[in-house]
Symmetry: C2
Subunit: 352 residues, 2 copies
Amino acid sequence: MTELKNDRFLRALMRQPVDRTPIWIMRQAGRYLPEYRATRSQAGDFMSLCKNTELACEVTMQPLERFELDAAILFSDILTIPDAMGLGLYFAEGEGPKFRKPVRTEKDIEQLEVINTASDLTYVTDAVSTIRRELNGRVPLIGFSGSPWTLATYMIEGQSSKDFARAKTMLYTQPELLHQLLDKLALSVIDYLNAQIASGAQAVQIFDTWGGVLSHAAYREFSLAYMQKIVAGLNTESEGRKVPVILFTKGGGQWLSSMADTGCDCLGLDWSTNIGVARQTVGDRVALQGNMDPSVLRGSDESIRAEVGTILNSFGQGPGHVFNLGHGITPDIDPQKVKVLVDAVQSQSEAQ
Amino acid sequence: MTELKNDRFLRALMRQPVDRTPIWIMRQAGRYLPEYRATRSQAGDFMSLCKNTELACEVTMQPLERFELDAAILFSDILTIPDAMGLGLYFAEGEGPKFRKPVRTEKDIEQLEVINTASDLTYVTDAVSTIRRELNGRVPLIGFSGSPWTLATYMIEGQSSKDFARAKTMLYTQPELLHQLLDKLALSVIDYLNAQIASGAQAVQIFDTWGGVLSHAAYREFSLAYMQKIVAGLNTESEGRKVPVILFTKGGGQWLSSMADTGCDCLGLDWSTNIGVARQTVGDRVALQGNMDPSVLRGSDESIRAEVGTILNSFGQGPGHVFNLGHGITPDIDPQKVKVLVDAVQSQSEAQ
């Protein structure tokens, strides 16, 4: 493999010194970019874009052409695993992801099989190796997966949900059944992320989008325990280097200490968390990634620069910070504002 | 006024010893009760029910007839203040609250007038005094209001929202304008809650339903500061007794320490917070209210009892706990499960 020209992101994840704070942006290849919208309309629907290796590579590269970002992230969806399990993922216009065959009964769950990425999800590993070739060592490539709990909520509800009534009913009435589902998902995620790493992913992030809807006790038992199992099951040595693992539980700001004990390398923070307080909580156990409210990008250039300053100062001196938003960038953002953000992170963190 | 026969709830809010942990349930007069649905269909729509003193009193009493609850709560809506300001509140079937005239421009906000409860919201104070008469000292009556930030989000968006794009855009582009709106709302809430207290409310709760969507810094500046102003402006002596103030920010579990410094008496917790950790955080500054996930009520009787035990044990010995759900009870819950909950809180906390 080609030598990595910019390893600022990987070094920060391992809490090693860097010349300035690295930055990437969740959903950086997304609808706020006109060139993304053009490629997507060429591909057809969202999943067709994910499954088209060349186009998935193209959109992955697009934000790097515009902004000096320190990492690329595989263009894909968090729901590829349940799709590969046969649930029939589709995207209804303006409604988010849905499954044709949600998982509701004991029989549904018993019949699910742990995925084999090498045969079931080659479009993902193909995209990883194609993007790596195209990146040619420019910046590292991040692979990712949804967390077992997050995947389970979509699989049980059949779509996103306001209160996760079905998933939580299963949690409180048939916990063993939910554990059976989560176990199959954890094994699938391990296989999936290891395949991404073998194909060239240089860091991986687990998106626990819906862990925050649980009580602390339920989070530990039904979400965190499975993420811990995944961290333990990953082959995190590749190309002579550690592949760092990032855990991101949206709404998990109260549980950072137990998250830091999973053996992961970095915690993603949403914007409700004060990153300085988070750093005190986790100490030198993990790096931190985040955590600007994407809404700040709707504000003036000056207010963006001020918010960047607040976050950098709150984190303080020393290594272990990767700048990011606290959640994915939204489609309404002007790309020019992203340039202001990236420039602000670079110039202000260099000056520190 | 008649002597209060059960002051367990008020004593717990003031962190005084009680014989067992008091319990009430957010939205206890709600659609999960068949008798509520009957009264509501008699009244017409939701706001007609709020504005009909006799029927509002009737539904307030309904849960007390079924369950041994330790408090009643005024039947009303959090959006009465913006409605009184002329925004035209209505409820579209299955869609939640909406405003006919949302607040969008500088002129819209300048034209808003601080409400005068005595002339603009007599249906609320009439309901308070009617319910107090009907309660006849059985349990205390809770008055309430939405927080300024929460009211502002609905007023600016015109309805509930997923990401509060308009409200946050105002926050980051026209903060002074938002402060002007919040200031008028805070003055209105002070007037409104003082009028409820003067009419007989024996405790008040401020519902900050959407404070948790903010960053910590934005929460302090745009939500907490105004709740603090309200706490300072309330006449909390009535009928020779302190009227305790409860602050409830959904998703505010990371900010409990600053909330406890507002001068309020109790913090409401959603279920993402471990109540034992919260108690360590706030020490003897405030009481705590909460915090079972309403979804637990979809589970077996045994799992409800177990969850009650977990929460009571997590809080531990000593005064200052009011049991409640972490959010409003949902319409799908079987009332029989509420009986299991109330019995479990009573028997288990008596045994402690």
